[in-house]
């Protein structure tokens, strides 16, 4: 009896001890997941990637008013081509390699990723394949890992998170407008002052001078994560060119990025672990335009102009068992991407003579926006999501202010952990809140269609 008792106690102790054997958690936040490898347990070269074929559709409602009345509205066309309101597209197809170049030395790791899909990265700037990430991380200094190269900047959750675990197909309006940066040489105002004879369809449209930023920059980052009980506290400081990917610096100005997050980890590991995270970020720099409308002088300037560009935000994410939630508030000051003239497709000739639709930038504008997201895993295979986002563009100029809001209803069906189908229905609205309902701006914006989208995502 005594022996049985002792064995029971021993077994219970062993069970308790074994229960304490927790799986090793690879640092599960975006800074660590993207910037480091599991020390001593990484491959020399792990090949990976993902493919995102998709279908999108709107009703292709035409512009109701303005110089391009009756023509296609940019907001009802499929990106990035802007030539059709519906169709198939391989949005992303990325192939990468990552690991520890010398497996005996886990203190140095690398990350390489290239984009083969059809999107704002590959569509602009020539070439059909673009390098999006190429970085090396040095893990020699405790508390201060150093990452150099081109990589995702520490910032908004929607931009920083791995795109292959994004719960939706399209970005929120605020992220798309303020953080997925387009780089221009001019502010787009020159099409209005160019003599009519020099401006034809596509002739002088202001377009991006290369790929979108893809939430990335070239530079150097110091970062690390500190664990205290169930909490993980992370920081990142980065200095970059402020000029996106595939190009060097253009103005001798540097971008500064600051990031902090604290997360209570509930369990799991990797990009889909359970936890509650609070985060805040800030970035500041300058952008140089070769030509712009000088409001103070009342003329179009062809001298280089430097403009401050600041973005900051605060947010939270939550994931536990079947529930997911997120919210973020973003503020912007300077260099606001301001859509196109009359809502037309860039390069489209106006119905009257002399004007070609261009992309526009407001060098000294202000904007803000926010989003909330909730999700529920009905089964292991089916997850339902809903997101509401608001973007207030050009809040500092009443007649230029535009408000965009979108309610997105989503469903994700997981064929397995690495393959899923995403379905989205976006109920989209836009208005010029300080202008009359029958103003051309509001007539144009009232033509913004709802959008349906379906996407297959396979990670390998």
């Amino acid at each position: 009896m005594k022996s049985i008792y002792k064995r029971t106690i021993l077994s219970a102790a062993c069970a308790a001890a074994l229960g304490g054997i927790t799986p090793s958690v690879h640092a599960a936040n975006w800074l660590m997941l993207q910037g480091t490898e599991p020390a001593g347990a990484a491959a020399r070269a792990k090949v990976w990637g993902f493919i995102q074929p998709e279908f999108q559709r709107t009703d292709d409602t035409k512009l109701e008013a303005g110089p391009w009345s009756g023509q296609s509205a940019i907001f009802n066309q499929m990106r990035p081509d802007l030539k059709s309101s519906e169709g198939f597209n391989v949005l992303r197809a990325r192939l990468g390699v990552r690991g520890e170049g010398m497996p005996l030395d886990p203190k140095v790791n690398y990350f390489l990723l290239a984009e083969f899909g059809n999107n704002g990265i590959t569509r602009q700037g020539g070439g059909s394949v673009k390098l999006t990430d190429a970085s090396v991380t040095f893990n020699h200094i405790p508390g201060a890992r150093v990452r150099v190269g081109v990589f995702k900047t520490p910032g908004s959750e929607e931009g920083l998170q791995a795109i292959h675990v994004f719960d939706y197909i399209n970005f929120t309006n605020v992220t798309n407008g303020l953080l997925l940066e387009r780089f221009f040489d001019t502010d787009g105002s020159d099409t209005y002052v160019t003599p009519a004879g020099n401006s034809g369809a596509g002739g002088s449209a202001n377009r991006p001078n290369g790929p979108v930023s893809a939430f990335r920059d070239q530079g150097i980052q110091v970062f690390d994560t500190f664990k205290k009980g169930d909490w993980e506290h992370s920081y990142a400081l980065m200095v970059g060119n402020g000029n996106g990917i595939t190009r060097g610096d253009n103005d001798n100005n540097y971008e500064t990025y600051l990031y902090w997050s604290s997360e209570k980890v509930f369990g799991g590991k990797g990009p889909r672990r359970d936890g509650w995270k609070l985060f805040a970020w800030y970035q500041d720099g300058k952008r140089t335009l070769d030509a712009y409308w000088d409001a103070a002088a009342g003329e179009f300037s062809v001298q280089d102009g430097e403009f401050d560009r600041t973005r900051y935000g605060i947010g939270t994410t939550f994931r536990k068992d079947k529930w997911r939630a997120a919210a973020e508030y973003i503020v912007a000051d300077g260099v606001i991407f301001n859509g196109t003239d009359g809502g037309a497709v860039p390069g489209a000739a106006a119905n009257g003579p002399g004007t070609t639709a261009s992309f526009n930038v407001e060098p000294e504008g202000e904007a803000d926006g926010w989003y909330v997201h909730g999700g529920y895993a009905v089964t292991n295979a089916l997850e339902l999501d809903v997101r509401y986002d608001v973007y207030n563009r050009m809040t500092d100029v009443a007649n230029k202010e535009r408000k965009f809001d979108t309610l997105t209803l989503g469903a994700q069906y997981f064929f397995n952990k690495k393959s899923r189908l995403i379905l989205n229905y976006e109920i989209r609205n836009a208005e010029a809140p300080n202008l009359a309902d029958d103003h051309n701006a509001n007539k144009i914006l009232s033509g913004m269609d709802n959008r349906i989208a379906a996407q297959v995502l396979v990670i390998f």
Partner: protein, 149 residues
């Protein structure tokens, strides 16, 4: 101390146990194990690290730490598992606290040291043996079952 028949038997029992332990110097931790397993890791594939630790954990769960003797022997590229800063060091410590032994090949350490410029730093739970493969052969001779996950 008063010498009684009971005390005498206890001392004899302890002496016998001590002799048994000395007769098997390689495995002193658990001389009464009913199952003895040596796990080999010599593969560069990082997934094998997780696998070998999982197997050790499963053996402990299946037989109970008091009934199974598990030793993990690492040599060649598999020695990375026992590096001091290996991401699995927490699991290694937990398994070691439950009686799992970790043996690191000295030959491999010497060769790695030539490439690194210094010997690799190992987890405190690892003990260095002259040669990993010889260690495995010795354990097999002692009745251990060799498993290479």
């Amino acid at each position: 101390m008063r010498i009684t028949r009971r005390n005498t038997l206890s001392m004899l029992f302890c002496l016998l146990a001590g002799v048994l332990v000395l007769a098997n110097p390689a495995r002193a931790e658990n001389p009464f194990a009913e199952v003895k397993v040596v796990l080999q890791i010599s593969d560069p594939n990082p997934f094998k690290q997780t696998l070998v630790l999982n197997v050790a954990n499963n053996l402990l769960k299946a037989y109970g730490p008091d009934k199974v003797d598990v030793e993990i022997v690492a040599f060649g590229p598999g020695l990375r598992l026992m590096f001091a800063d290996n991401v699995n060091k927490g699991r290694i410590a937990s398994l070691a606290s439950n009686g799992v032994s970790f043996s690191a090949c000295s030959n491999t350490m010497r060769n790695m040291g030539k490439k690194l410029g210094h010997p690799p730093e190992l987890t405190e739970n690892a003990k260095v043996v002259p040669a990993g493969v010889v260690r495995i052969i010795d354990l097999v001779k002692q009745g251990y079952v060799l498993v290479k996950p």
